[in-house]
Amino acid sequence: MGLALGASGLLAQKSPYADYQRMTAENAPVELYEIQGEEAWKKRAGPKNVSLEQCDLGQGPGVLKGAYAGLPRYFADADRVMDLEARLLHCMTTLQGRSREEATKRVFGNADLASEMEVLSAYIARQSNGMPLKPGTSHPKEKAAYALGQKLFYHRAGPWDFSCTSCHGEEGKRIRMSELPPLAKPEYARPVMATWPAYRVSTSSFVTLQWRMNDCYRQMRMPEPNFGSEVPAALLTFLTVNAAGETYRGPAIKR
């Protein structure tokens, strides 16, 4: 399975938690979510009563191998850059004919029941395990998404005047015992983006990058972005491009 390092590859080498992170990664309940995800992928739903199996995640309809590692990217049929969850929502509404309202009714689950998006993310991410992260960078909209993500990363707002850099702007920062990697730097972005989505031990739940973006905004006391919208797609483009080339080793396990 390889080393699934935690928040920062460099720090983890000196980190007293390296053994803990390695052993928990080897003993994580992640597969439970992957199995559920496979079922969700193959389940017929919506007015059109079809499964998601013909959804094109960027490698062709229904091709899952390497799909996660190739996101976010531009999709011509939607004429925008999409991360995994935005793309899944697109397939749910177009392929299956479901309403956005219904498909996003419960996008984040809990310890008792994971959400459809979470289990699908686990299943699909697994199919990219071992492959290099290769988000789209050549299309003009992909470049624009990167630029927007970068701008958002540094943009201060909200009642506390926070930006992502308030926590993720400098080396050597931590909140209690969790390292805060400066994500604009590739050496720090790489081990992070290589290990999402993940099983989160502290909440016994499976969490995705949309959830992480939402939660960061919540923690900054700013309104949470609309699910699958331009803001998380741009931020995820920024982060994933910063991590490009890193071998994907998720779905992982986190504190």
Binding site: G6, A7, P16, Y17, D19, Y20, Q21, M23, T24, E26, N27, C167, R174, I175, R176, M177, S178, L180, R200, V201, S202, S204, D215, C216, Q219, K254, R255
Partner: protein
């Protein structure tokens, strides 16, 4: 045997398969490591270097502490895990038969930094080893 009476090393013991689906309420309800060990008949255990505990020295989150235990004591037929500082120290007891190796990997909860003791039963004699695991509290994010 499960009534908590001391186990006589040379005495007759109930065949292990007769214990299927019973749960040692007394031992699991014990609030001290000493009482928990008594409850599984292991009050007197000899330290042994043939019991191997692989676990992180320091864990970020006490809710999931992975431990991997194995006994090289010949004839080991059960392994018990006791987390000394937990409110109820006895965490698990595994009985092995029909070729099962005295080995298990499991995630346990630890309330605080504590010694984790593993007790092996080999032919009615008990052996143990322990490892200290530090628990810290994680922050937000991640």
């Amino acid at each position: 045997m499960l009534a908590g009476a001391g186990v006589v090393a040379a005495g007759l013991l109930a065949p292990l398969h007769a214990l299927a689906a019973t749960w040692n309420k007394e031992a699991f309800g014990a609030k001290s490591a000493a009482d928990a060990l008594k409850g599984i008949g292991a009050a007197d255990s000899a330290p042994s270097q043939d019991i191997v505990i692989e676990a992180p020295e320091i864990a970020e989150n006490g809710a999931v502490v992975p431990i991997e235990i194995t006994s090289n004591v010949p004839g080991t037929r059960s392994l018990a895990v006791v987390v000394e500082k937990n409110p109820f120290p006895l965490v698990a007891k595994f009985d092995f038969q029909e070729g099962a190796l005295p080995y298990v990997k499991v995630n346990v909860k630890m309330g605080e930094t504590s010694d984790v003791r593993v007790v092996a039963d080999a032919g009615g004699k008990h052996y143990s080893a322990s490892k200290n695991i530090k628990i810290t509290i994680g922050g937000c994010g991640g």
